[in-house]
């Protein structure tokens, strides 16, 4: 293996180890380390330079560590700081809306359970009313019965249907609630 092949191999492995960094960052690092090794090769110091750089994995780790440090304690890059904050805020907003949605599902579930109880006490005021054309319906507990064009279709089936819907809505609200909660408190990746 000639010296240049040694450099090529090192850069190839370094490139692999730097995966995940933005392309321009990675290219910049590879160009500089490549120029450094070629320069040392010209001086007949390639072996020493390779030893000093460490394995490609160790060299990549050193870059990652430094860049992570910079991102974590960023005091010089308003664009990066703003970008990170924006991305965090977007996640928070999505999560907040998600939790609101889960809360609404939970309220619907409770309402459904309440209407099932009312059905037991006062069956006439609870039901699924469908108008003659079938385009319009009222489901649940109402004070004033709909006009004559509506007829109640569930009858005694209202109770089990309402209970099943209440349980289903409860489960969905719990699942979505937990999912969005995780999104909200989830760790924010610092590096781009």
């Amino acid at each position: 293996m000639t010296r240049s092949d040694t450099i090529e191999l090192y850069l190839k492995q370094l490139s692999k180890a730097l995966r995940g960094l933005p392309d321009d960052e990675r290219d910049d690092i590879l160009n500089e380390i490549g120029a450094h090794l070629e320069h040392r090769e010209d001086e007949g110091q390639l072996e020493t330079a390779l030893q000093s750089l460490g394995t490609p994995a160790a060299c990549a780790r050193a870059f990652r560590d430094e860049l992570m440090l910079q991102a974590a304690f960023d005091d010089g890059g308003p664009r990066q700081t703003f970008g990170a904050l924006l991305s965090l805020a977007t996640r928070r907003t999505v999560a907040a809306f998600g939790l609101l949605f889960a809360g609404m599902l939970l309220i619907m579930s409770i309402a459904m359970a309440v209407s099932a109880v009312v059905e037991m006490i006062n069956p006439e005021t609870v039901g699924l009313w469908v108008n003659n054309g079938g385009q319009d319906f009222v489901f649940g507990t109402i004070k004033n019965l709909p006009g004559e064009t509506y007829s109640e279709v569930l009858g005694r089936w209202y109770f089990p249907v309402a209970i099943v819907l209440a349980v289903a809505l409860y489960i969905v609200s719990q699942l979505t609630g937990r999912g969005f909660l995780k999104l909200m408190i989830g760790r924010q990746k610092i590096l781009p």
């Binding site: 910049d28 040392r40 000093s52 060299c59 870059f63 560590d65 860049l67």
Partner: protein, 111 residues
């Protein structure tokens, strides 16, 4: 005790101060910086630590790196120049360092 790990902690902040101080004098390439600090082995700057540090300083806006072709011909090299932000940071770091060195020398002693 693990003196090496303690040394590397100690050197982390010092390396940045050293590099900015050298670049304050004149713009230099990574190779030239390494050759310059070779005489100061206690600072602990090596090929494997200098380039990541320069990369961070560049992203921090404390130095800028530009690829240049040497006048005499040969390979292109990236030359680093300290920026205004870098000079401000250097001034603050230097003031801290002078106070730190004095206090610690009083406590630990120089011998």
């Amino acid at each position: 005790m693990d003196i090496e790990s303690w040394k590397s902690q100690l050197r982390k902040g010092a390396a940045e101060l050293a590099v900015l101080s050298i670049l304050k004098g004149r713009p230099m390439s990574g190779i030239a910086l390494l050759d310059h600090v070779k005489a100061y082995s206690e600072i602990g700057l090596s090929d494997g630590t200098l380039y990541p540090l320069l990369k961070r300083l560049d992203r921090d806006g404390r130095v800028t790196g530009n690829w240049q072709l040497p006048d005499a011909g040969g390979r292109p090299t990236k030359t680093y120049t300290i920026t205004k932000d870098g000079e401000d940071a250097l001034r603050a770091m230097r003031a801290t360092w002078v106070g730190f060195r004095k206090d610690l020398s009083d406590i630990v002693g120089d011998e």
